[in-house]
């Protein structure tokens, strides 16, 4: 697994993929936070809400773009046959690729702490930023990204076409993040199923953590979704044997 992880990380950082993804994420959010219309400097509130609302929407596109290559390219070139005939299990290949992409997401995620530090510095002493809620939101956002990475890897494993992998990835990320929430708002689900449907989606759990209360149920939910998509990925890789 380590060999695959190392190779993937090397590929991210020896090409532009890593730098572009880190740059895009950091700059796009910085512009919205500090410069564009409705920025926090004008609003006079020490809060990162804009960041935590916008970030998931950028990730829905950014993460499938990072992961679309993962398996689709190996299938296209035939190198998956090389990997799967080496003495490692299919699960090790999947985990190697997952953790490599997760590491890249971590590197993309970490610089955004600068926003937090900057705002804490700027805020007045009697109206400081709500540290608890912000830490919670950061944890929620990290897990959200981790789920998107699993979804992206899965989408990449079901096709040998990178564009298809990207589009399926974006769609599944959107579905998991927003669609369940929207669905629960439909009148026919009101009053009975709406809470249940909402809790299938990522949005509800992200919001829940964002309030600053790190609930084990939310963490278990995120980890379960990740595991589900990774098992799906392994199944897709093993589908050659059917």
């Amino acid at each position: 697994m380590n060999a695959i992880l190392k190779k993937e990380i090397h590929l991210f950082f020896s090409s532009l993929i890593a730098y572009v993804s880190m740059g895009v994420f950091f700059i796009a959010l910085a512009l919205n936070l500090f410069i564009f219309d409705g920025n926090i400097l004008d609003s006079n509130y020490a809060t990162l809400d804009t960041f935590f609302t916008l970030a998931p929407w950028i990730l829905i596109f950014l993460i499938p773009a990072i992961t679309m290559r993962s398996f689709a390219d190996e299938k296209q070139r035939g190198t998956l046959e090389f990997l799967t005939t080496k003495p490692i299990t299919d699960l090790q290949i999947v985990l190697g690729k997952y953790f490599a992409a997760l590491l890249l997401w971590t590197f993309t995620f970490l610089p955004t702490f600068i926003y937090f530090l900057a705002i804490r510095k700027l805020s007045l002493e009697d109206a400081p930023i709500d540290s608890g809620a912000t830490y919670g939101s950061y944890i929620g956002l990290y897990f959200l990204g981790a789920v998107f990475v699993a979804i992206g890897i899965f989408s990449s494993a079901i096709t040998n076409n990178q564009i298809v992998a990207f589009l399926v990835g974006v769609f599944l990320c959107y579905l998991m993040y927003d669609a369940f929430y929207r669905l629960s708002l439909l009148p026919i689900f009101q009053g009975q199923l709406d809470y249940f449907i909402q809790s299938i989606g990522l949005n509800a759990h992200y919001d829940s953590i964002s309030r600053g209360v790190v609930d084990t149920r939310d963490i278990v939910y995120f980890i379960s979704v990740i595991a589900l998509f990774l098992i799906g990925t392994r199944t897709a890789i093993e589908s050659r044997k059917w």
Partner: protein, 306 residues
């Protein structure tokens, strides 16, 4: 016994790709796996390397079953897939390091010397600092073989290692396979007969998923000794029917109106009769040449008739 295959079959839906094949390869043997395109060679190799599971039957490599202990099997084999898939944007050494680490994750320190030995063995010295994508096809093939060799497997499975190479590269790769075969068991597939004559101890010929011959290369050639093939050319045109007076004749193959290939059992008697026939017809014999048959002919006979 390095490799033993028993009643191995593979169906793709209803199509039989490999149909109940069995063979064994002893330690240190080079087995040529021969057949026309689409005969089931690659499918068999994919099953032996645990890439695809067989529909029925089993195979045993170095004492490990392909279904029960795939990881142990994969540790014992080195595999060069068809079309030699490689990461073109990796450097040769970087790729070999990766291939080694993925096979032996617990290996400490001495990867450098193993990689160097392998590079020497396959003759990649000159090109070792390049990116794989920049190499010529012959050198890419060597990288593919190096990758298969790097974890020192006992059995090498090479799927068409010589396809698409120019004659010089072809000779080099064959020489390389012969050298590697001194210490290892090798199964390699090809559809080129001369290759088998040049390299292999044993030959398995497969057609439409079935084994049609399984013998040593020498024995296969001896099969042909009984039959002779004589090329004749007459001065004037002649009807195929007229030739049938020749008693020793088994088969006639028309090349042109005055040029034929004649097959029979007794070379001396046949030539004598052809000469007498020409005298009788007052049609001068311009050519009378006995052809030596090659394994190529065996291949044709075995794979075309069915």
């Amino acid at each position: 016994m390095s490799v033993s295959v028993q009643h191995l079959s593979k169906y793709y839906n209803t199509q039989k790709a490999v149909d109940d094949i069995s063979f064994v390869v002893k330690k240190g043997e080079i087995l040529g796996f021969l057949g026309p395109n689409g005969a089931g060679k690659s499918t068999t190799m994919k099953m032996l390397t645990c890439y695809l599971p067989p529909s029925s039957g089993s195979a045993n490599l170095c004492g490990f079953d392909i279904l029960k202990e795939p990881l142990a099997v994969k540790q014992k084999i080195g595999y060069l897939p068809e079309n030699n898939p490689l990461y073109y944007d990796m450097y040769v050494k970087e790729f070999l390091e990766f291939a080694l680490r993925i096979s032996q994750p617990h290996l400490k320190s001495k990867s450098g010397s193993i990689i160097k030995e392998t590079i020497d063995l396959v003759g990649l010295n000159v090109e070792q600092h390049k990116k794989i994508g920049q190499l010529s096809k012959g050198y890419k093939q060597r990288v593919g073989i190096a990758q298969a060799l790097i974890h020192q497997p006992e059995v090498l499975i090479l799927d068409e290692p010589t396809s698409g190479l120019d004659p010089n590269q072809l000779a080099d790769i064959r020489q390389l396979i012969r050298n590697l075969g001194k210490e290892r068991t090798i199964i390699f597939s090809t559809h080129i007969m001369q290759e088998v004559q040049a390299v292999c101890d044993k030959v398995v010929i497969i057609n439409k998923g079935k084994i049609v011959a399984n013998d040593t290369a020498d024995n296969l050639q001896n099969r042909l000794k009984n039959e002779v093939c004589i090329e004749v050319e007459f001065e004037n045109e002649i009807e195929e029917e007229e030739l049938k007076i020749i008693q020793q004749l088994h088969a006639i193959e028309k090349i042109s109106n005055n040029n034929f290939m004649l097959r029979g059992n007794n070379s001396k008697q046949l030539r004598k009769e052809i000469f007498e026939f020409a005298v009788h017809k007052k049609n001068s014999l311009l050519t009378l040449k006995e052809e030596t048959q090659s394994l190529e002919d065996v291949f044709h006979q075995l794979t075309q008739s069915s």
